[in-house]
Subunit: 147 residues, 2 copies
DNA sequence: CATAAAAGGATAAATTATATCCTATTTGCC
DNA sequence: GGCAAATAGGATATAATTTATCCTTTTATG
């Protein structure tokens, strides 16, 4: 019942890319340094994000990674599912009939609801939202100072 | 991001006890049979539920288990946390300061919200609710037949 | 061609989840 | 008292998953 490290790393990495100047490419190793993520592990995560279309990657000397689409079209759900696969709170939600009790199981209905709410929340939160909020949080101490 | 087997088993076991006549005790082995749970594993789960006060257990020849308190005072959250420990969606929610980025991390706020909603849902659903719904579901096919 | 980057396969290490075994303890009953 | 049936609990085994690294390949730049 816990987000994996992969998922947390992925969100941080995407956020890192999103909050850098868009005209310059970012290199995975530097993301790893800034975000304190094991560098080789991060390359795997970046690879998943790239395959999901959330990052665009460029090989070679001047290579690196950039957002695969505008930050407001990338949801947290997409990021997490890109690296962890589909989210399901209980196995009966993988697909109908995965648990043969699901028709008569009152808990099943509860999981359907809980999962719906969770996915809804994640699907409605965009990387752009997070990036904006990150900026606010960074400026918050300044604001205190200025006031 | 998935409920463990322990949690699912625990809910089923509690529901099994709750839907049996309250004047007779239930024996763990029979719960395991009815609910298709590995019997020896279930004894461990029952033990956790008992230590949390959700079940009362009785040793000896005429022993077994019974609800530790009225079904409407047992929430799904209590059941799951009894066998899985505290639920947290991401590690920064274990306790404040567990992740030293939490002050400046916009994702943290999202997890706080998501966790709040999930726990709220589980805390507000009682075993009695589930038992009632179980009965409805059992009668549903009959209703189809009668109509 | 040398260098710097991502891609990808194989594998290692660590952790957690699932499950069983064995012995002890409690209790009811003959 | 002694047997049988039940939970209690420690130790352990097995399996699965997660986390992380290593090594080789491919791609692009200058
Ligand atoms: S909640 Fe019910 S339907 Fe879902 S896996 Fe558990 S028993 Fe099956
Ligand atoms: S979401 Fe943010 S605060 Fe929470 S663990 Fe991840 S980085 Fe830390």
């Amino acid at each position: 019942m816990e987000l994996s490290r992969r998922g947390d790393y992925a969100v941080r990495a995407m956020l890192d890319v999103a909050t850098r100047p868009a005209d310059r490419m970012t290199v995975t190793k530097e993301i790893a340094l800034r975000q304190d993520i094991p560098p080789i592990f991060l390359t795997k995560i970046v690879s998943s994000l790239s395959q999901a279309g959330l990052l665009r990657t460029y090989r070679g000397v001047a290579g690196g990674v950039a957002l695969g689409k505008p930050a407001d079209q990338i949801s947290l759900l997409q990021i997490i599912e890109a690296v962890e696969g589909p989210i399901y709170i209980n196995r009966c939600l993988i697909r109908r009939g995965e648990c043969d009790r699901d028709r008569a199981c009152p808990a099943h209905e509860l999981w359907v609801q809980a999962q719906g709410e969770l996915l809804g929340l994640l699907a409605n939160k965009s990387l752009a939202d997070l990036a904006r909020r990150a900026q606010e949080l960074q400026q918050a101490p300044m604001a205190d100072f200025a006031a």
